[in-house]
C-alpha cells in the first residue's frame, strides 16, 4: 500500500485499477493495445504517492479487466506496477 491516502480523481473513480509505466511512450503503447482489445481505459496523472515526476502518466482500467495485463505483456508493453485505487490508498495488485 502507498503511504498516503488517496483522493480518487478522473476515471479512477470509476475504473479502480491503475497501471504505472516508466515512460509516456509506454503509456501510449499500452493504451493503443487496450483499445484494440476493446478494453476501456483512460490516461490519468500518476499520484505523487506512487511516483514523483513532472509528466508521469498512468492508465486506469476497470478492476475486473486486470487479467488483460497478460495480453499487454505478450505485446511487449513495459510497466512498473499495478494498483487497486481505493479511498484509503493505492494497493499493489496481482493478476
Amino acid at each position: 500500500m502507498s503511504e498516503s491516502s488517496s483522493m480518487l480523481y478522473g476515471k479512477l473513480k470509476e475504473y479502480r485499477a491503475l497501471l504505472t509505466f516508466p515512460s509516456l511512450a509506454d503509456v501510449m503503447h499500452a493504451e493503443g493495445i487496450l483499445t484494440c482489445l476493446d478494453c476501456p481505459s483512460a490516461v490519468v496523472r500518476t499520484p505523487s504517492s506512487l511516483r514523483s515526476s513532472c509528466n508521469s502518466m498512468s492508465l486506469c482500467l476497470p478492476l475486473e479487466s486486470k487479467a488483460i495485463i497478460d495480453e499487454l505483456i505478450n505485446e511487449g508493453v513495459v510497466f512498473t506496477g499495478l494498483y487497486e485505487a481505493r479511498e484509503d490508498g493505492f494497493f499493489s495488485l496481482e493478476w
Binding site: 515512460s23 511512450a25 515526476s53 509528466n55
Partner: protein, 383 residues
C-alpha cells in the same frame, strides 16, 4: 524556379504536412511530457502517432524504440558515440557523407579503430575486402544506403548479413532512401536505422530519428529533462526517454507524421518509380549533350533519384550558378559534404565537384525538359 535539389531537402511538401504543423501550432501547442494536462497530452499523442507511423513504414513494431532527433546527422552521432568506445573497431564505406565520416574521425582521435572499405566507380563496396576486415574488437559496421552524390545503392542486405555473421551490429544511414525505397526492419539485417525527416519522408527541416533494435543500449549524447524519473539525478535508462532529453520539436514531428502517412497512402513504390522515371528522362537527355559527363551507373532504376554530371571541365559551382541565373534551375553543386565519395569519383582531386539534379515525385515532366534545355544552352555557351 525549377527545384531539383530534393536530395538536400524535399520541396514542396504535401499540403497535409503544412496542415498538420499548423494544427499543432494553433491547436495543440502544449509541451509533450511536461505536465499531465490536456495540452501536453494532445502534443504527446501527436508525437506518439508519428512513432507508430514510422514503425509501419519501417516494418518494426515497437514505437518506444523510435528516437526523435533534429536530423539524420544527430541520429548518426547518437548511434556512433553511443555505442563505440576506445579500443573498439568500426567498419565503413568509401562513399560516406560527413555525417558519418566526421564523427568517425573524431572517434579515431579517441582511440577507436576505423576501417574504410575501398571501392571504385562501378564496384563501390568490395565485399571480399569487407569480409576480411573484421577483427576481434569490431563492434559496428556503418554505411549509407545510397550515395548522396551519385545515388549509388550499396548492397545493404549482404553488408548486414556479413556483419551479423561476425556478431557485429549494423548501422544504416538512410538519408537518401527513407520514404523512397522500402526499408523493412523485419527482414533487413539492420540494427540501427538513422533517417532524416525532411527529405524522402517529406516532413519539415529539424526532424529526423533513430530506430534502435531492442537488444541495443546506447549511451546518450546529451542529458537532461525527460519528464520522467524527475526525482532522480541519473538519466532514465528506458527508451525513448534515455535518448530524448529536452523538449521535442512537436510541431515538426506532427508534420513528419503527416509526411509518413502521405507516403503510406501513396505507396513507396509509386513514389520511387515516378522519381526514377524522371531521372531516366534526365539521364537520357543529358547523355545526348556531347560535353556532358555523367557519373554513376546508367541503371537509374537501381539508384536513389539523383543524376550527377558535369559540363566539360567547367567548375560545377559556376555552371550551376549560370543554370539558376539564366533558367531558374536549382541544383546542388560542389562536393555535397561527401569528400570521400568525390575522391572515389576523381572529382575532388580536380576541384570540380559535380552538379546534382534530384527531382521529387512532385517534379513535372515539363520542368525536367526545361532543365535539360537549360543545360544544353549553358553547355553551348561554355563551349
Amino acid at each position: 524556379m525549377i527545384y531539383l535539389d530534393n536530395a538536400a531537402t524535399t520541396w514542396p511538401k504535401p499540403q497535409q504536412v503544412v496542415t498538420a504543423i499548423e494544427e499543432a501550432l494553433v491547436h495543440k501547442g502544449g509541451n509533450a511530457g511536461r505536465g499531465g494536462h490536456g495540452a501536453a497530452m494532445q502534443m504527446a499523442r501527436l508525437i506518439y502517432q508519428t512513432r507508430e507511423d514510422l514503425c509501419v513504414l519501417f516494418g518494426t513494431n515497437n514505437p518506444t524504440r523510435v528516437v526523435f532527433t533534429q536530423n539524420a546527422t544527430y541520429a548518426l552521432n547518437q548511434a556512433l558515440f553511443g555505442i563505440l568506445q576506445t579500443g573498439d573497431h568500426v567498419i565503413t564505406s568509401s562513399l560516406e557523407h560527413n555525417a558519418v565520416a566526421r564523427p568517425l574521425w573524431a572517434l579515431k582521435q579517441r582511440g577507436v579503430e576505423v576501417s574504410e572499405i575501398p571501392g571504385v566507380p562501378g564496384e563501390e563496396f568490395d565485399l571480399e575486402v569487407y569480409n576480411k576486415a573484421f577483427r576481434p574488437n569490431t563492434k559496428l559496421v556503418v554505411t549509407l544506403h545510397a550515395s548522396n552524390v551519385t545515388g549509388t545503392l550499396l548492397p545493404v542486405k549482404q553488408i548486414g548479413q556479413i556483419a551479423h555473421e561476425h556478431g557485429v551490429y549494423y548501422l544504416l544511414d538512410a538519408a537518401q532512401t527513407a520514404g523512397v525505397f522500402p526499408i523493412d526492419l523485419g527482414h533487413l539485417p539492420v540494427d540501427l536505422l538513422a533517417f532524416p525527416g525532411h527529405k524522402g519522408l517529406l516532413g519539415p527541416q529539424g526532424t529526423g530519428g533513430l530506430i534502435v533494435k531492442s537488444e541495443i543500449r546506447l549511451e546518450s549524447l546529451i542529458y537532461g529533462g525527460t519528464g520522467s524519473l524527475s526525482e532522480e539525478d541519473r538519466q532514465p535508462d528506458f527508451m525513448p526517454d534515455a535518448l530524448e532529453s529536452g523538449t521535442l520539436n512537436g510541431p515538426g514531428i506532427a508534420g513528419l507524421g503527416a509526411g509518413v502517412r502521405y507516403i503510406l497512402s501513396e505507396g513507396v513504390d509509386k513514389i520511387r518509380v515516378r522519381e526514377q522515371a524522371l531521372c531516366r528522362k534526365l539521364w537520357e537527355g543529358l547523355r545526348e549533350i556531347s560535353v556532358v559527363k555523367l557519373y554513376g551507373s546508367d541503371m537509374v532504376e537501381r539508384r536513389s533519384p539523383i543524376v550527377a554530371f558535369n559540363i566539360g571541365e567547367f567548375d560545377s559551382i559556376e555552371a550551376s550558378h549560370i543554370l539558376e541565373e539564366e533558367a531558374g534551375v536549382i541544383a546542388r553543386a560542389g562536393i555535397h559534404c561527401a569528400p570521400h565519395a568525390h575522391r572515389m569519383l576523381g572529382t575532388l582531386q580536380l576541384q570540380q565537384g559535380v552538379i546534382r539534379f534530384s527531382p521529387s515525385h512532385f517534379t513535372s515532366e515539363e520542368e525536367i525538359e526545361a532543365a535539360l534545355q537549360a543545360v544544353r544552352r549553358v553547355a553551348e555557351e561554355l563551349s
